[in-house]
């Protein structure tokens, strides 16, 4: 299987685990040294060199490592995490996947992957719902034959979040 196909497979499987609330299995897709960050996004001037502007320095919505992600998952398992109990109906739509050239480094084979994410969220019996839109800049690493997520930077397309909490993973 070529790398692009493997990466697509990984992203689609990851999305399914997140949508089905199979968080322990999701954690098994992360490396031990995983870094997971969602910076605050602001309205700023257009950067002269192009690219995304307004990525806040110093403030994030999430800045996680393995231990803190495990804490968040363990919280969801307590039965008292009201934000997600009952769980939100989530759907991670992953598109526009761009796969870089795999590189063999100190920690094994790694590949940079960018994808677009549209996340649908609906709660309770209300007909309204929210969308979150973002680009994800990932680093995947091959461990024991399979790909794992070593780094994720989520570039949100929101300054003020249209939802009352981030009680799930992007």
């Amino acid at each position: 299987m070529d790398v692009i196909r493997e990466v697509l497979d990984f992203l689609h499987r990851e999305a399914a685990l997140l949508d089905e609330g199979r968080y322990r299995e999701w954690l098994s897709l992360l490396t031990e040294d995983v870094v997971y960050r969602i910076p605050v996004r602001l309205t700023r001037e257009r950067p002269p060199q192009g690219g995304y502007g307004g990525i806040a320095e110093g403030m994030l919505h999430m800045d996680e490592d393995r231990a803190s992600l495990e804490m968040r998952v363990a919280r969801l398992e307590t039965g008292f995490a009201w934000a997600e109990d009952p769980p939100s109906r989530l759907r991670h739509f992953v598109t526009n996947v761009r796969v870089g050239e795999p590189v063999r480094g100190d920690r094994g084979e790694e590949v940079e992957v960018r994808s677009y994410l549209l996340l649908f969220r609906s709660r309770w019996d209300r007909p309204d719902f929210t969308f979150l839109s973002a680009e994800r800049q990932d680093l995947l690493r091959r461990e024991n034959g399979g790909w794992k997520l070593a780094r994720r930077l989520v570039i949100l397309d929101h300054s003020t979040l249209p939802t009352h909490n981030l009680s799930f993973f992007l």
């Binding site: 309205t43 001037e45 806040a56 919505h61 800045d63 008292f80 997600e84 009680s167």
Partner: protein
């Protein structure tokens, strides 16, 4: 009774407010006050148009030209440090034809140029550029009459910048009153003061600003159930009543309130919130009074809420269950009213400017784990607040009188060393009853 000015107020709203006034001293509050379009209009004109509202911390705009965009109600203000070093705030609205002149949520600018017709203002608000001035407006056009409109009132206290839409408002110091003693436990913990960790997180919640405020001004009682997941994880103290131990204090006539929580009996928690030794040493001499130092030394969880919509929260927390020692974090937040049943939470992480770098990093992570948009405590608060607001708008629900009777028979603590009226236990609604007295006073007049 029936002191509500009936002019322009519907029968329905009058009944609602009379219900609040009648029930308050018995500890009964009609749920309808938490989601009502008419009441929201009254709050906008009588409370938010006449109160000191938190806008920014001085550390957000340290250099000349630095600015942030902030709101009171739906009015956008550019809060900017001018070239003379003075902080000013202007309505972000071109005096010519009403366009927004500020093109970012924060930045640095010597001038603000309107993209509509090009009128250009210096960062002290003065109009300095009008394209084709002579051809368009003739000789002698008085640019000095057409500067950006300054916010009616702007004052700073110990690094905290507040605005007021009422030009006749009393001073900020007068407004704050004795709550300053408690604010100083945070603002004067270090002689260098505080700094923001970065720009605020902003997120919307379908709830009422008063419901959010209630949790932070008084509701120690919710922690045992709302935040039970964190107790189960061993991140909040094992004793589910942990937030009960301490004093609940209000400032009569002002609406402000604070909760000073110590260690639960038998819990091994370091003194002074668990701040590093060197910060504790600096605080000992930095606090204006010995009493403040002595209170701070025994504090583990600390909250201050200012009428009408500013709260700070300063708890000791383990960043994760494995981390060996708990670390304090500090957040400032504004419960920004957007409309009936809808608010924006503007949440800042804060830290002492001269804190050691390793500690700043721990405090930052602790804030991100527990409060703000993804905070594992705050997530459950916002979920619950939104459902209460939904019920409050229902035809039956809005008439239901909710229970605010906790601690009604308590006697104030005569030995408390700080100002205000203190109660020796945090399981009381006393701060709320005081808040709603001020609320009624402003709504009625």
């Amino acid at each position: 009774m029936a002191r509500i000015q009936s002019k322009g107020v519907s029968q329905r709203l009058q009944e609602l407010l009379e219900g609040l006034e009648r029930g308050l001293e018995e500890g009964l509050i009609p749920a309808g006050i938490f989601n009502d379009p008419e009441l929201f209009e009254l709050e906008a004109s009588r409370i938010f148009s006449r109160s000191w509202v938190y806008l920014a911390h001085v550390s957000e705009i340290p250099s000349p030209g630095d600015y942030v965009l902030r709101y009171i109600l739906n009015n956008a203000f550019i809060v900017v440090r001018s070239e003379d070093g003075k902080i000013r705030a202007f309505l972000d609205m071109c005096r010519h034809r009403g366009m927004r002149v500020c093109r970012a949520e924060m930045g640095n600018a010597s001038h603000f140029r309107c993209p509509f017709h090009g009128w250009t203002y210096r960062n002290d608000g003065s109009l300095v550029g009008v394209p084709a001035e002579r051809e368009a407006f003739g000789e002698g056009f008085r640019k000095e009459d057409w500067g950006l409109l300054p916010i009616p009132r702007l004052e700073e206290w110990d690094g905290l910048v507040f605005g007021n839409l009422d030009p006749e408002a009393s001073s900020l110091e007068e407004w704050l009153g004795e709550i300053r003693w408690y604010l100083e436990l945070v603002t004067k913990r270090s002689p260098m003061g505080l700094e923001v960790l970065g720009p605020p997180q902003r997120f919307v919640v379908n709830t009422d600003w008063k419901l959010a405020l209630e949790t932070f001004i008084s509701d120690s009682y919710h922690t045992l159930m709302t935040h039970r997941s964190m107790i189960e994880l061993g991140i909040a103290p094992k004793d589910a009543k942990y937030a009960m131990y301490g004093e609940q204090i209000h400032i009569p006539g002002k609406g402000h309130g604070t909760m000073v929580v110590g260690a639960p009996p038998g819990a091994k928690l370091p003194p002074f919130w668990g701040y590093p030794e060197e910060m504790m040493e600096r605080a000992r001499t930095s606090y204006p009074t010995r009493q403040q130092w002595e209170v701070a030394r025994e504090t583990r969880i600390f909250l201050v809420t200012l009428f009408p919509n500013f709260s700070l929260h300063n708890p000791i927390r383990k960043p994760d269950p494995q981390y060996p020692v708990p670390v304090p974090m500090l957040t400032f937040r504004v419960w920004h009213p957007l409309g009936p049943g809808r608010i924006e939470i503007i949440s800042w992480g804060m830290v002492e400017r001269d804190a050691p770098e390793w500690f700043k990093e721990k405090a930052r992570l602790s804030y991100l784990r527990f409060f703000g948009s993804s905070g594992t405590f705050e997530q459950d608060d916002t979920e619950i607040w939104s459902h209460v607001a939904q019920n409050a708008a229902s035809t039956l629900g809005r008439k239901v009188r909710l229970n605010y009777q906790m601690g009604r028979n308590l006697k104030p603590d005569p030995n408390w060393p700080g100002p205000g009226v203190a109660y020796p236990i945090n399981f009381t609604d006393e701060n709320l009853r005081n808040f709603y007295r001020k609320y009624l006073d402003m709504i009625q007049g």
